[in-house]
């Protein structure tokens, strides 16, 4: 098979290669979701069901639209003027792209953690208290800050320096503070865009362990280039692929065991074994 064949790479996965859940109500579901930048399609026709309290990895070669897709799930693409989204993203019984939906509220309920830690230039305490505060919480925020930092597995490391700048700690700690900041508003889903790619192995391990612990109460959708990481932490994996025309499509979605152990689509096999990348 010519894996570099443009037509082949451009094809969406066949229906039987895309996992569908008949017995559970997904917490998030996209239907025929497409994204274009300045009229140029970047992601096309993604229909993905995400079960509650699961970890779903989005994997695929560079430029296949993983991050673009991820940003659709909490309307972050709204912040890019040239971006337009078609199709549906249903979350908690509503289409998040419906006209009466407030994108800010969506972003509280579906939080996001980025590739590089991006704490605000404020104290650690204020970083975590930021979300609840602008959400109108006026009570004593100490408990929220402590709980969130504990949930992000960084409390013991920063509890004695809560007034220090969020930028004064290590990269791995900064990233966990950013996760605490996202958790402080009790999101139902956390989107993570390569959250450990800029971190050393020890910090990466801490983030991976954290993801696994959080998944008992929060749904996590994570973009990662690290195949071993995806294998370790995710319950399900969605594989994206783009041909030379640079339109990303989902070619396979299945359990961790399927995608990394015995993929149905030969392009997935080629990608996870490093034959294309």
């Amino acid at each position: 098979m010519a894996l570099n064949d443009t037509d082949l790479l451009s094809q969406a996965g066949s229906v039987e290669n895309i996992l569908k859940f008949d017995d559970i109500e997904p917490v998030l579901e996209s239907n025929d979701l497409s994204v274009a930048y300045s009229g140029q399609t970047a992601v096309s026709g993604v229909s993905l069901q995400v079960p509650k309290n699961s970890v779903v990895s989005l994997i695929g070669p560079s430029g296949c639209g993983k991050s673009t897709l991820l940003r659709c799930f909490n309307r972050m693409n709204d912040l890019i003027p040239s971006a337009s989204v078609t199709g549906k993203v249903n979350f908690a019984g509503q289409d998040i792209y419906a006209q009466d939906v407030d994108p800010t509220e969506i972003r509280f309920r579906i939080g996001m953690v980025f590739q590089r830690p991006n704490p605000f230039p404020k104290s650690i305490y204020e970083n975590v208290a930021f979300g609840p505060r602008i959400n109108g919480m006026t009570d004593d925020l100490d408990e929220v800050v402590e709980t969130s930092l504990r949930r992000a597995a960084v409390w013991d490391e920063v509890k004695d320096r809560l007034n220090d700048s969020g930028l004064s700690v290590s990269g791995g700690q900064q990233q966990r503070i950013c996760i605490a900041r996202a958790l402080a508003v009790n999101p139902e889903i956390v989107l993570m865009d390569e959250p450990a790619s800029a971190l050393d192995p020890i910090s990466t391990q801490a983030i991976e362990q954290l993801i696994q612990e959080l998944s008992s109460e929060v749904t996590i959708i994570i973009v990662t280039h690290n195949m071993q990481q995806a294998t370790r932490i995710s319950d399900y994996a969605a594989v994206m692929m783009a041909g030379e025309e640079r339109i990303g499509r989902m070619i396979e979605y299945g359990t961790n065991e399927q995608v990394f152990g015995n993929p149905k689509d030969e392009r997935t096999e080629a990608y996870v074994t490093g034959r294309i990348g």
Binding site: S62, G63, T273, G274
Partner: protein, 238 residues
């Protein structure tokens, strides 16, 4: 596809070359094992004690080859972090090397029995046991061919065929046992020499079972299906 394209195929090609080397080692080991079974049965039939001793001595080479394959598989897993078909290929190779090593032990067991028999001729003319041996070695060859083909449909066809052949080997084994029991019943003094041939037949029957295990690993490699083996690991009488 991107700026990494010029690098990734090279690393991938290197991995493919290493997987090819792994396969070559397995084929080599399989050849050693087939020869060991053939030599052990020939030596038994011709009462060639020196040849039996060589089978025993050469089993060390088979054991060492298994260890080399095992080390190489561990090295590949550590260094390449294989996924999907690559992982299945390495895991299957690891398991097949173990199966081949055990077949080598069966050959060694037959050779030891032959030496134990000393100058005594076999209790009965060796007809069915060599037939069992030919069938078992043929099954071994075909199971390795199935593994190397990595073709799911082909492996399934071979698997079904080998199951039938394994049944035939089992039938022959039952016949050998029945014949030997008759000889013991007719003259209890035959018991010792009958027991020697029982052990030989048992070892040959186990070779066929191991060939079935190998074809199951070939199926796993080609399809990801894990078939539960019906055979039990048994020790060879020393």
């Amino acid at each position: 596809m991107n700026e990494q394209s010029s690098i990734i195929p090279t690393a991938r090609q290197e991995f493919d070359r290493e997987l090819g080397r792994l396969e070559a080692e397995l084929i080599l080991m399989s050849g050693l094992v087939e020869k060991a079974i053939f030599d052990a049965l020939q030596a038994l039939k011709t009462r060639d004690i020196d040849r039996s001793q060589r089978v025993i001595d050469e089993d060390d080479h088979i054991d060492e080859t298994e260890l080399e394959i095992e080390r190489y598989c561990v090295e590949l897993i550590r260094r390449q972090s294989p996924m999907a078909g690559d992982l299945r290929r390495i895991v299957a190779s690891l398991q097949i090397a173990g199966e081949l090593e055990r077949i080598g032990d069966y050959a060694e067991g037959i050779a030891k029995i032959s030496i134990t028999m000393g100058s005594q001729p076999p209790l009965k003319e060796l007809i069915d046991i060599p037939r069992m041996g030919d069938m078992a070695v043929s099954m071994l060859k075909r199971s390795l061919e199935a593994f190397i083909s990595r073709d799911a449909d082909g492996v399934r066809v071979i698997s079904v065929e080998l199951e039938k052949e394994d049944d035939e080997v089992d039938d022959l084994y039952a016949k050998v046992q029945a014949d030997l029991m008759e000889l013991v019943k007719s003259n209890p003094d035959n018991a010792e020499r009958a027991t020697y041939l029982m052990w030989v037949a048992h070892n040959v029957e186990r070779v066929a079972d191991r060939a079935m295990n190998i074809v199951e690993r070939a199926l796993y490699q080609a399809t990801g299906e894990l078939v539960s083996g019906t055979t039990q690991i048994e020790t060879t009488p020393d």
